[in-house]
Symmetry: C2
Amino acid sequence: MGKLYLIPTPMGETASWDAALPAGNRAAIDSIEYFVVENIRTARRFLARSGIGRTIDELTFAELNEHTPAEEVEALLDPLTKEGKNIGVMSEAGLPCIADPGALLVAAAQRRGVEVVPLVGPNSITLALMASGANGQSFAFNGYLPVKPPDRVKAIRHFERRAHAENQSQIFIEAPYRNRKLFDDILGACDPRTMLCIACDLLEPGQYIRSQSVAAWKKNGAPAFDKRPAIFIIF
Amino acid sequence: MGKLYLIPTPMGETASWDAALPAGNRAAIDSIEYFVVENIRTARRFLARSGIGRTIDELTFAELNEHTPAEEVEALLDPLTKEGKNIGVMSEAGLPCIADPGALLVAAAQRRGVEVVPLVGPNSITLALMASGANGQSFAFNGYLPVKPPDRVKAIRHFERRAHAENQSQIFIEAPYRNRKLFDDILGACDPRTMLCIACDLLEPGQYIRSQSVAAWKKNGAPAFDKRPAIFIIF
């Protein structure tokens, strides 16, 4: 039986392999001809840039993303379970299976006793958390907040309470075009003393990571984070 | 003013730079002569092995760990704020400021408007989560569980409820010599259908990552995880 390799990719358009990925990841990639990826175009581009030892056309790609029906996930393992081949899993950016649907494939692999091999790479959640000064001994990643205003404010207040009551840093993401909306909602809903970290364009030239109180954010204004991928941490 | 670099180190005794760290991290290390580290001996050994361009004796080290009084943390930034030098932060293993006390120094840096630069490296929490098949779109790292039996069982049940009610993967660590105890406590306290991932010796030759139901763990028995660093995930 083959192994399931979880292969990180760089984040952002400009990030080089040397800045974002261990050199040793190339050896794993070179052992794989079958890839399950969040987005085929992105994955092919990454592999083409990586200087791997084969032409991309020798490789086979299948997509697994939010449009994949759950009942089709199991069959994506066939090359591994039936033909003994390794499979590589790649997300659009960063670590696969974190903040993306790749975990469904890993769960299927674990059910069948397949060896799963995670490789080291960049992750915006941990990079932002490290640099925030927020508690890194207890933290939660909560993905996206609800979009409807009353639910959203309720959720922000819920996570703010949990941040303080449990001393647990609360991490969120938002669609980049809604960063300003989330910023305004947090400033409107949270106690002035609550701390907010905003981290955007991680590992990119414009990287920005700033933690201050809600009161200080109100005074100093929003960062230039429009349409830039951002992480928000309340603590 | 200098910058505060957060410098990951390999996990485990055998991990090589190429397997665990981007080549580019060396350039950041080469810009630094002042380090704040969790353990000076470990940090010196890491730098000696890294083939950096200077002798270790030219470098200055200060320790920041669980024995450091909170009021002494701020002064560790003096070389940066007063002399304009970069500072590098390193933990015992993996990403600094996650599951270690380094966050206190970053918080002080953020208060003073210092630029904080997180580098890419290995993290046992995300490696285990990726490979577990547990939900990676919502998860919490909870550090250590209470040691006293009644509090411990109560905490396990609390986190099991949260795992199911919020579909939030619940991640824990334990002192390696107590792995078996935690395993038994989880098997005793949790519903047979609850999923448990055990990941140990990540990135080491004996790497083991297995997810199965509590019922299946009861039937199949404990892994050989005595005194090996392990991550536990309930989902």
